[in-house]
Amino acid sequence: MTSRRWAIPALLALVVVLAILSVAVGRVTLTWDMWKAQDAISRAILIELRLPRAILGVLVGASLGLAGAAMQGYLRNALAEPGTLGVSAMSALGAVLSIFFNIAGLHPWVLPICGVIGGMTGMAALFVLSGMAASVLTLVLSGIILSALAIAGISLALSLSPSPWAAGEIVRWMLGGLTDRSFDELTIAAPLIVIGCVAVLGCRRPLDALTLGETGARSLGIDLNRAQWQLAFGIGLIVGGSTAVTGVIGFVGLIVPHLMRSLVGSRPGALLVPSAIGGAALVLAGDIVVRLLPGGSELELGVVMSLIGAPFFFLLLHSMRRKLT
């Protein structure tokens, strides 16, 4: 254990370095001299573009890493994650429907709230479908059902969309990214995500106890019913809040907890905070890569994460194959 004490400070240092890079790097590289000169353009780039983007990256990355670690702990399965199990897609469906029915414009909060409702519905449906003692098979099948349902709903909304504007907006949900986000979006996402994170972090004890299985956890005095709904609420808020402002960014919750296990051990409760910090680092790094790639227009972050995440998922599944059959 003592040898792992450096893990959290090292990860935090990595996040700080990446955050500074994220603020400095892009089509225009901000240098310390430009910042000191206080010219209006670099100020605008920093305050209006880079800073909200970096903060949002930290927030969304951290919360998605946390959500992934918590879902894996609860379902006792290293393949669980909001993106792969369709919870993010359900959340996107909620957001898309609010655009489709033209209620998103009523108030800035309508779309995120619809995203949150979608995410919570996805979590609840997942728990109902897969049950407590989820085998990999039932879990993955539940995820397929949820994803298929959500994608069908989104496609339906696309083909029936009332205006080209709505169709364009809807497409944006399917490709998650941090591009051109302002402090307005940040102020909407932050409270939802923070409340969600607090709810999830409150489940550390049940998640630890679940290492001994359902019966083991209950015999240790854990109220699993309560833990289940607290997680559905917290992860629903996290996924809904982040999807509403950045669209679907998958695989963060899959990759990060897996990497963190080798750093800090497998105890689910002890994995939460490192996974959050690691998630922030991964999303920041991904977003920096997106900006540095050559080409006319920026690639969306969600696409890059899927390009990294899908092969990772493949390798993980491959290494677990023997255990699954």
Binding site: L212, E214, G216, R218
Partner: protein, 264 residues
Amino acid sequence: MTRPASNLKISGLQFRRGSRVVLDAIDLQLQSGAVTAVLGPNGAGKSTLLSCIAGLLRPERGSIELDGTSLHSLAAMQRARRIAFLPQTPEIAWAVDVQTLIGLGRIPFQGISSDEQDRAAVARAMAETEVAQWADRPVTTLSGGERARVLLARVLAGEADWILADEPFTGLDPSHQFEAADLLRSAADQGSGVVLTIHDLTLAARIADRVIIIDDGRMVADGAPQDALTPQILRNVYNIDAQWLDGSNGTPPTIAIHGRATRV
């Protein structure tokens, strides 16, 4: 270290699954400081009885009192501090190290005992079960027998008044069975109440102070091993011909099973 005496009083217990009555009319008074073995054929209701006493299942009728307080009026954490439970086929979901796994037994004490006390309890449990040398090893790298010892240590770390173990010896070789039995025996000698379900008649005869036999949801025998494990009762319950053999020169008893009972 001995702990204050505790008693469990079970009266008129009935448990149903759907329309099937799994347990009926169970009346039982258990005292701490003794090993009670619950025997009976598969499906007789042994595990259900243990789960009811552990507070994991709520019986339809009857009451379970822990030192005069209804078990179900206790908060789950409060109950978990008094009664530790080792499930049949225990699950270990993650490759945590041995020390961490045993520490999970302290979960009911979070916010109540200090880290110091928790560490001391884990160290005591590891010393008692002699697993300290594996403290930093992932549980998944241990053999079945080693893992059973670690899981027992997890239960002991709770330092509960009551230890309920559902078939703790299943899947262990004879030497590991005796080893686990000795650990439970010594927990009882230190004042804990140990209640376990078991299929091995000889092992039950050797380690238990009291044997309870359940058949088809009802108690059919309750007493000292030699009074409960009689040829007549064993024939009725298991349909076997078996015989209690006293060990000569103070060696422990054996129950010889001659085969299935021949019906006349």
